[in-house]
């Protein structure tokens, strides 16, 4: 005698437990990341520094006086940027995989990363020529200084990112969306924008070339309170807009025809969700540069643990994306102290090994 309600509740608990574990993992990694670096700050000082900054009247200042400025001005924005970027890449990957029903797509494989990179490289190389002194200006908002160049870069990255997604959708809809055509379209469009980047690198002067190259490597160098305060609302609003469609994404899993029969406007949902994740990813990439891997791997790893229920998969991939990026960035920061490695170097190694382990250790989803 099979009791579906019991099984459903058991599965639900397991999914909730997984999300809860990721939240704890994220908090622990964030505290650890605040503590390590070229200056070591004890965990207790980290907690005091955070507590004292938020509730100065109730929590005493940390013993180590230097903790507050280091944490508040240097480490916190960087850690928050890693978290926000990881979250956006994590859910973007899930949404792309579910709406295109292809476990191989991600911001990277669909050419979105290359396109956003091209937009950013355009800004670095041609921005000063196009916008003149405006490019170097700043905007003051909510007590923070926002650089015009960063704002322009977000817009350029977004426009190019959107163009790549539009082209992929156009090509795949013409061909009756065979799965390999979508990937092919993404790869080809990625090459087109890569060609553009190579051209820009070739014609740019030394300082712009260095900036473009650094940006293409990806990293949290662009972290500042201004960038984080700009990104948090974008990423949170986009997350909300995506998550509330989780039920419809579930229905799309059995094919467009079934989803349409179930009353879902498939074309509209796919188009809108891809635009929303493009906004979130391009905005983050304008500050972090190109970050691969997470968009592809975070959804896969989560799927192995909790299956495909989008209600949990979207949030779990977002959290796992944040954990992976934060841990990788922290390791990249401290492993060759005082020198910093690009985050990609660490992420691809840690993530790659972990993924190979998961694939070879289990082949079902029943990982408790």
């Amino acid at each position: 005698m099979v009791d579906i309600k019991t099984i459903f509740e058991k599965e639900k608990k397991r999914k909730e437990k997984f999300v809860f574990v990721l939240v704890v993992l994220l908090i622990v990694s964030a505290i650890f990341a605040l503590s390590v670096g070229s200056v070591y700050i004890s965990i207790s000082d980290v907690l005091h520094a955070i507590g004292h900054s938020i509730f100065p009247n109730y929590i005493s200042a940390p013993v180590n006086e230097i903790a507050i400025p280091i944490i508040n001005t240097i480490r916190s924005p960087r850690i928050l940027l890693a978290i926000v970027a990881g979250i956006s890449l994590g859910y973007a990957g899930t949404v792309m995989q579910s709406t295109l029903r292809n476990p191989l797509v991600s911001p990277f494989t669909l050419g979105l990363s290359s396109a956003a990179a091209f937009g950013a490289a355009m800004t670095i190389v041609a921005g000063p020529l196009i916008f003149g002194s405006l490019y170097y200006g700043t905007v003051k908002f909510a007590g923070q200084i926002f650089y015009n160049s960063a704002l322009i870069m977000i817009v350029f990255a977004f426009v190019c990112g959107l163009l790549s997604i539009y082209l992929v959708c156009l090509i795949s809809s013409r061909q009756k969306a065979s799965q390999s055509v979508i990937i092919l379209a993404g790869v080809v469009i990625g090459y087109l924008f890569q060609a553009g980047i190579t051209f820009l690198k070739y014609v740019s002067d030394d300082s712009a070339l260095r900036e473009v190259t650094l940006w293409l490597m990806g990293g949290m160098w662009g972290a500042s309170w201004a960038s984080v305060l700009m990104l948090i609302p974008v990423v949170v609003i986009c997350f909300y807009l995506i998550e509330r469609n989780a039920k419809s994404f579930n229905a799309m899993m059995n094919g467009d025809d079934v989803a349409k029969n179930l009353g879902i406007d498939v074309e509209k949902l796919r188009r809108n969700s891809l635009i929303i994740v493009t906004i979130a990813v391009s905005a983050c990439m304008a500050f972090t540069g190109v970050i691969g891997f997470i968009g592809l791997m975070a959804p896969h790893i989560c799927r192995m643990f909790i299956g495909n229920d989008q209600k949990y998969l979207i949030i779990a991939s977002a959290l796992l994306g944040a954990v992976i990026l934060l841990i990788s960035d922290t390791v990249a920061r401290v492993i060759m102290n005082p020198m910093e490695l690009p985050v990609g170097v660490i992420m691809y190694v840690i993530g790659g090994i972990f993924f190979v382990y998961l694939i070879s250790a289990r082949n079902g989803r029943q990982i408790e």
Binding site: I4, K5, M253, N254, N261, R303, N308, D309, R365
Partner: protein, 282 residues
């Protein structure tokens, strides 16, 4: 309730697949759509399922155009099971069948939703597979999962495109039996696109035969499916055998045999003699 298909013309791009198809189906009946490959059965089913708008003509549900009805409301009345299934890896059977509750449920499934899912799983005899992933199942098990998903939708009309194609003999008969029971007990309507003429003849009330995008023959199953019907629609010679268990079709050779046996007769090892061909064409 009734669905009226009125002079539906449908196609993809510039090619027209259906050239004006009209018929009516009421609840309490099983209608089989017959016809050779490419005759437009799937296209017709997709049009009735609300998946693609007809180029002209209309599909009406109780005198209302189904494309004017709010999609989530239509989804509670008409359910569709496609011929080819798509799914993502690591999706459990339970998750898949729950998708059928989409038009009915809120953010989380209610107790009633789960009860209906349980009933659907039991009906298709897959309750033991509920925790398995769809990609781990056999073709026949998977087909039963997708039929169960459709049952969980609790519609008044089911549209099945080749629902028995991957099932073994036992499950073919049982699945058709379940449909028959639902039709008479719960007063629902079923449209099935099917190639198996014996299942069509013994389980459906009416049949419609499509050929080249047009209705060629229609009527009650027992009267319509005859030797002439099989040769005209499928180009196959067949005998009808009647016994105490029902009426059965026994197809034995293609009428076009003369065309390809010409090539075969040049082959000395061929078992087909030219005499056979003459006999067929008589």
């Amino acid at each position: 309730m009734r669905i009226v298909v009125d002079d539906v013309k449908q196609g993809y791009g510039d090619t027209e697949v259906l050239h004006g198809v009209s018929f009516t189906i009421e609840t309490g009946k099983i209608l089989s759509l017959l016809g050779p490959n490419g005759s437009g059965k799937s296209t017709l089913i997709k049009t009735i399922a609300g998946i693609s708008r007809p180029k002209s003509g209309s599909v009406q549900l109780d005198n209302k155009d189904i494309f004017e009805i709010e999609p989530s409301k239509r989804a509670k009345v008409i359910s569709y099971v496609p011929q080819a299934y798509s799914y993502m890896p690591y999706t459990s059977v339970l998750e898949t069948v729950l998708i059928g509750r989409t038009p009915h449920m809120g953010w989380n499934p209610s107790e009633e939703d789960l009860k209906i899912v349980e009933h659907a799983l039991k009906n298709m005899q897959i309750e033991d597979l509920v925790e398995k992933n769809v990609n781990e199942l056999s073709g026949g098990q998977r087909q039963r999962v997708f039929i169960a998903r459709s049952l969980a939708q609790c519609p008044s009309f089911y549209l099945f495109d080749e629902p028995t194609s991957s099932l073994d003999l036992k499950y073919q008969l049982e699945t058709m039996d379940i449909m028959k029971q639902m039709v008479y007990k719960d007063n629902i309507g079923v449209i099935i696109a099917i190639h198996d003429l014996n299942l069509a003849m013994n389980f459906s009330d009416n049949v419609i035969a499509l050929k080249n995008g047009k209705i060629r023959l229609e009527g009650t199953a027992k009267d319509t499916i005859t030797e002439n019907f099989v040769s005209e629609i499928y180009g196959v010679n067949a005998s009808i055998i009647k016994n105490e268990n029902g009426q059965f079709i026994l197809p034995y050779e293609s009428i076009d045999k003369s065309t390809y046996s010409k090539y075969q007769s040049n082959d000395k090892n061929s078992i087909t003699s030219s005499e056979d061909v003459v006999k067929i064409n008589d």
